[in-house]
């Protein structure tokens, strides 16, 4: 049976077909739907780990025990998982282990554009890169076979334009892969220096073997057409190149690390000019140049953003690209009724320095709330607020983090703040879900990835156990109550935590809420400062769009003249 399928769903299918038993991941765009889909197969234990490091460690453990395992994350997640990755490259595997990493060139939903291919090179693990949904499903099985054949974790890389593209996939059967025998083997799995020295030599020998073998992998293939130009490419770029330059010869890489250097060298000899088209870093280009293969790449394309068919036509073929009309931007917004909005409104009003974090609430940075001073990486709000407070003890700065992000990597920052006594105030925006990635469960929601009940991590008790002086829980719809607690916490020299608790509006609507209306607006514009998509200024007065308003009442709270009601 054939089905039009999102590549992330195809990766889940590929894992199921290839006999994967364990999947552990942390949600991150554009990788999230892989694990949401493996969770639909009862033969696979699928879980949301608190973060990518734990997820990879779970994968390594399952592999060591003899099971085929898969771990999924976005590019920045691989930074978090880098610690186990570099040493798992030494231990190797027992059951096959595939790490799926999704890069986001163009930053559709990310804070940087890092190129994960360098992890493969630095950790000396092979990396494969599919070019559509069907290939993605096949490559999961291939990666697992490679993993077992070469005794190494294998990284499967996607980018947004692969992960979130749909094409047709043939649905196959599951191949049951029996657990491999587990034998204690300390020199392989216990990385004391004495053992690790031996394993490093194994890694080097393995990579040399792969460098030779990849010359004949059928997934690295030459498509000879017109010999005037040859293009080396992989993944989504392969599809763009085929579209933009249908007559060009192509060396399509299925494995992007290690590269089949000698085979590309042969291809280069058959074409007049060799072009490397790759997004982000000159990863392929520099390796070819280092091996004496002349080619053209980044001098045409640069490092930033996505490469499209139009970019290729423009940079390679010299065709002018159409120019976009200048129109008002439409950045994403906190939803109407979002429980985060009132918190940011108060923080903005009190001129707090806000060290924020990664999630929907990052959107509090945009006008008119303009409440956020910094966003760096998962959990950074705490460390940064602590550092900021030490450098400027009189600052009224706060750390703001979501519930899922706090569990991911905020807890250690809180422990540090208490241990080193900066007296910061932490606000946990607890909306009972992982919002931005599409509502995944986490340890504090009381539900697993597979929909089963789980013990709920108690955030209040956890924070108290970290040693904070006080934990207050407030409803973020009650801005007055929040402001009172916040002022009290800011005046305190001790570390304080405020948990603003209300379910994400997309998950749980306000009970019996009616859309609000504005009567006799005096045009003061206070309500517009909330940045609510349901409130529009028309002829100098505020108007509420009844089709969008979800009755959160924040505008009613801020209106100084009582003009807003049901």
């Amino acid at each position: 049976m054939k089905e039009l399928m999102l590549t992330n769903q195809a990766i889940a299918l590929g894992a199921w077909e290839a006999g994967v038993r364990v999947v552990s991941s942390y949600p991150g765009t554009p990788s999230t739907e892989i694990t949401e889909n493996t969770a639909k197969y009862r033969e696979i234990h699928s879980e949301w780990a608190p973060n990518e490091k734990v997820a990879l460690e779970v994968g390594i453990g399952a592999s060591m025990a003899g099971a085929r395992a898969m771990v999924c994350m976005k590019h920045v997640g691989l930074n978090v998982a880098a610690d186990p990755l570099f040493t798992a490259a030494y231990t190797g595997v027992n059951g096959g282990l595939v790490i799926v990493v999704a890069d986001d060139p163009g930053m559709h939903s990310s804070q940087n554009e890092q190129d994960s291919r360098f992890y493969a090179r630095s950790a000396h693990v092979p990396m494969v890169e599919p070019a559509d949904s069907a290939e993605a499903a096949e490559y999961v099985a291939w990666a697992l076979d490679l993993s077992e054949a070469y005794d190494t974790p294998v990284i499967l890389r996607t980018t947004t334009r692969i992960a979130h593209a749909q094409s047709v996939v043939e649905i196959g059967e599951r191949k049951e892969v029996p657990l491999k025998e587990y034998k204690k083997d300390a020199p392989k799995y216990t990385m004391l220096p004495a053992h690790a020295k031996g394993r490093h030599l194994v890694v080097e020998a393995r990579e040399n073997r792969l460098k030779a073998d990849c010359l004949s992998f059928p997934q690295n293939r030459v498509e000879m057409r017109d010999a005037s130009v040859g293009v080396v490419c992989a993944g989504a770029i392969y599809q763009h190149v085929r579209e933009a330059m249908p007559t060009a010869s192509v060396f399509k890489l299925g494995m992007v690390y290690p590269l089949p250097i000698a085979a590309i060298g042969e291809f280069a000899k058959q074409v007049d000019k060799l072009l490397v088209v790759e997004e982000l870093e000159p990863f392929i280009e520099n390796q070819l140049k280092a091996n004496g293969i002349p080619c053209v790449g980044k001098e045409l394309f640069g490092l930033q953003g996505e490469i499209t068919v139009a970019t290729i036509k423009q940079k390679v073929l010299g065709e002018a690209a159409p120019v976009a009309a200048k129109v008002p931007a439409r950045p994403p917004l906190l939803c109407a009724g979002c429980p985060h909005r009132g918190v940011y409104y108060v923080l903005h009003k009190l001129h707090c320095v806000v060290n924020s974090d990664i999630g929907c609430y990052t959107l509090g940075a945009l006008a008119p709330l303009s409440a956020v001073d910094s966003v760096v990486c998962m959990g950074a709000s705490l460390g940064m607020a602590h550092g900021f407070k030490y450098a400027r003890p009189d600052a009224n700065n706060v750390a703001v983090i979501g519930d899922s992000t706090f569990v991911h990597s905020g807890i250690t920052g809180l422990i540090n703040a208490v241990y080193n006594q900066s007296g910061i105030t932490l606000i946990i925006l607890d909306n009972r879900t992982t919002g931005m990635t599409g509502h995944q469960d986490h340890p504090a929601t009381g539900k697993t990835c597979m929909g089963d009940a789980a013990p709920r991590l108690d955030l209040e008790r956890l924070c108290l156990a970290c040693g904070v002086a006080k934990v207050d829980v407030v409803d973020p719809y009650d801005m007055q109550a929040f402001e009172t607690v916040l002022k009290d916490a800011l005046a305190d020299s001790k570390e304080r935590v405020i948990i603003t608790r209300r379910a994400c509006i997309m998950k749980e609507r306000v009970k019996d809420a009616k859309p609000l209306v504005v009567k006799d607006c005096r045009g003061c514009g206070k309500c517009l400062g909330l940045g609510c998509p349901a409130i529009v200024k028309r002829d100098g007065k505020a108007v509420i769009d009844g089709t969008q308003c979800l009755g959160c009442n924040l505008c009613r709270e801020v209106c100084p003249f009582g003009c807003i009601g049901e």
């Binding site: 739907e33 094409s167 047709v168 085929r242 159409p322 009309a325 006008a367």
Partner: protein, 181 residues
């Protein structure tokens, strides 16, 4: 056929793309879709790509490559009009959703009808007439079916295959969109 579906996060561009994907599959054509999830879904400008035909390589439509820009909001039609190929057409909902800069009075909503040669459909009104503002996407699919001369019955079949909720309402929205042109 390259159809760029543009709109505001929450207007259902993903579902519309899925229906068109199903339509092309039912017609026995190769089809590829490209979408973006995550941050851009939160009320921001969204783009979904639908390509179908005999042989499709990239799932991503390029600037100058769209046969149709199917817009669920007029400002978004204007924003992505440069994706049109020579001879391409814009089909757009005529009801604006002002972005935050316009809503707060910091920017002016452009006069789209004056600057963009397009087929305008009162899709928001028709969706409300069908019973829900959420089916603007289905109204626009109906209008697209008429504009491109697609097979109405196959389109209905595609919707039945993809849309799981409020079928009567959605089919009514498609009908209203179809008859609006």
């Amino acid at each position: 056929m390259n159809i760029l579906i543009v709109g505001v996060g929450g207007q259902g561009t993903l579902l519309a793309a899925k229906v068109l994907g199903e339509y092309a599959t039912l017609m026995g054509l190769e089809v590829k879709l490209s979408e973006v999830h995550g941050m851009s879904q939160r009320g921001g400008s969204v783009v979904t790509h639908v390509r179908y035909g005999e042989e499709i390589h990239t799932p991503v439509i390029w600037e100058g490559g769209a046969d149709v820009v199917l817009a669920f909001e007029p400002l978004e039609a204007l924003r992505y009009a440069h994706f049109l190929a020579a001879g391409g057409r814009v089909l757009t909902n005529s009801t604006p959703l002002p972005p935050m800069s316009v809503a707060t009075g910091l920017a002016t909503y452009p006069d789209v009808q004056a600057s963009l040669d397009a087929t305008y459909v009162p899709a928001t009104d028709l969706a409300l007439r069908a019973g829900s503002i959420k089916c603007v996407n289905m109204v626009m699919l109906g209008a697209l079916t008429k504009l491109l001369g697609l097979d109405y019955d196959v389109m209905k079949k595609a919707i039945l295959g993809v849309v799981k909720k409020a079928l009567d309402l959605n089919l009514e929205a498609v009908r209203l969109g179809y008859e609006a042109l």
